[in-house]
Amino acid sequence: MTVVRDPSVKPLLEGRGVTKRFGGLVAVQSVDFAVYPQEMVGLIGPNGSGKTTLFDCLSRVQSIDEGRVLFKGIDITSKKPHSVAHLGMARTFQVIRVYRKLTVLENMLVSRQWRGETIWSQLRPSQADTEERARELINFLSLEHLTLEPAGTLSGGQRRLLELGMALMPDPDLILLDEAASGVNPTLVETIKDRIRRLNEERGKAFLIVEHDMRFISDLCTRVYVLNYGEKLAEGTPEEVMEDEAVIEAYFGT
C-alpha cells in the first residue's frame, strides 16, 4: 500500500471478504476494501466484473452471501436498504432512477432524510428549511431553470445531476456513484466532476465511484480498486493501477 494514512483513523466503510453468488456464478468473490472519511475512491473493472453488484450489496438490495460490511463501525451486512440510507450512505444508479412524474423539486423533497422520523411528523407539508435546502442544491447543480419540470422531461445528463442531488439531499457522509458520467455530454461531465470535487473539498463528503472513463477516475480519486471476474485484481493510486500488468491484461486482453 502506497497511500500513507494515520492508523488511528477508522474507515468509514469497510468490507471484509464480501462474496455474492448468483446460482453457480460468483459475481463478487471475497473482496476486501475500505473507504476512509473524506476520501474519494474509484472502483474500476471491465464489463461484468461485479462493480454494480458490489454496489447493490452495499446498499443492501442484494443479499451478501459471505463476509461483512461495516459502515461507521456498524455492521450493515443484514440491514434493510432504508436503514443503510438512514445511517448516511446514499447512492446513484447506473440505470437512472428518478421519479419521472414528480417535478425536479418534488424529487428532491422526497429524497430528504427520514432518519428517526415518525409517520406523524411526515404528515406535515414539507418544512420551509427542507425546501430551501432542495432549492439550494438544485442551484448548486445548475438545474434551477428546471425546478418545476417533471423529471421525465429532463435529458440524460440532467437526470444524472438530479440523481446526484437526490443522493445529496439527506446530507450523507458517503456517496456511491454508479457510472455518474455515462451518456452525458462532455460539458456536463465537467460540471459533474467539478461539483463532486467541491462536495469533497467544501463539505467533506466521501465518494466511492464506479466509472468506465479512466480520466474521470484519475482526476478525482486518490485511490483505486480494480475488480475482474468478481475478484480484486489490484489497488493503489490511479497511476500505479494503470501501469499494473495484470490490469492492462484484464482490460486489453491477451
Binding site: Q122, L148, P150
Partner: protein, 347 residues
Amino acid sequence: MSTTVTPTRPPAPVAPVSRARWVRRIVLLVLVIALFLIPAITRIEGQTLVSNSLLFRFTQMFMLITLASDWNLTGGFTGYVDFGHAVFFGVGAYGTGILMGHGWAFPPALFAGAVFAVVFAYMIGFPTLRLRGPYFSIAMLGTFVAMREIVRVSKGITGGGVGLTLPPYLNRPLFYYLTLILAIIVVGVMWWIRRSEFGASLIAIREDEVGAEMRGIRTTLHKITAFAIAAFFTGLVGGLWAYQNTFIDPDLVFIESRTVELVMMSMLGGLGTVAGPPLGAATIYWMRDVVWKNFADYHLLAEGAILIGIVLFVPAGIMGALGDRSGTSIQRVWKRWMGGAAGEGEP
C-alpha cells in the same frame, strides 16, 4: 385553522394559479354550505324530513365518495390496486353489527368496527403488501372471497348466511349529516396527505419502489400506514351502512360489485388525484340513480362495459381530461401502467 395555507410554505411549485385557486375554494365552500342546507330546504310531498328519500340517496353518494377516496389512497397514490377493498367495509359492518347485538351503543360500536378494520388491514397487509402488481390485486380479491366464506361459516358470531339484524333506527337527517361530515373529513385528509411528505413518499413508492427504499423511505411502513388509514374510513362507512340498513348478511356486505364500483369511480375521476374519486363517485351515482334505475336488469352489464370503456378510452379520468388544474401533478399513476397510452410518450 389548519386547512388554510400555512404561510411558512411557499405553495408548492406552481405560482401563478392563486386566483383560480381562490375561485375553486369559493365554489367548494358554496357547495359544502348548500349540502349542509339540503335537509332544511327540501320537502317531498308525503314524506317527512325523517323519511325523506332524497336524503337517503345523498347519504349513499357520500358513502361512495368516502369509499372511492379511500380506495384511491392505496390504488391511486401508492399504486397498489386493491381488488378486495370492500373487505374492510365488511369487517366494519360486521364489527359494528356484532357489538350492537351485544348491547353496545352505536357510537362506540361504530368506532370499534373501524378499529377492527384497521387491525385486519395490518394482519392482511403484512403478507399481501409484499406482493407486487397483479399478485397483490388477486391476493386481495382472494382475501375478500375468503372473508365472505369465513363470515358465512362462523354462524355463532356472525349469524352465518342468515345474517344479523340491527336495532332499527330511521333517522335520515342524522345519517345524512354523519356521512356528509365523514366525506368532508376524508377528502380533507386525502388533500392533506397529498401535500405532505407522507403523500410524496407514497407517490415515490408508486413510481419506483426499490429506488424509494434505497433512498431511505421506509416503504413497508408507508404502505401499511396508507392501507390502514384507508381501512379505517372504509370500516366507518361499513358500520354506518350496517346501522342504516338495519340488516347485514354475507352476500349483502361482501359484494364484488362494491369493489368494482370503487375502482371505476376512482378511474373515471382520475386515479391518484384528490378531487377525482369524489367527482367520479358523484357522477356514477347520479347516472345510476337517474338513468339506470329504469333498466335495473342491465345496469351491472352497463357498468362492466363502462369499466372497459374508461380503461381503453379515458385512462386519465375526468381530472386528467381537465388538465393539471387540481394542483396535483400525479394523475398519471396510469401512464406508467398504460405504457404512455394516455398521451405522453415514455422515453
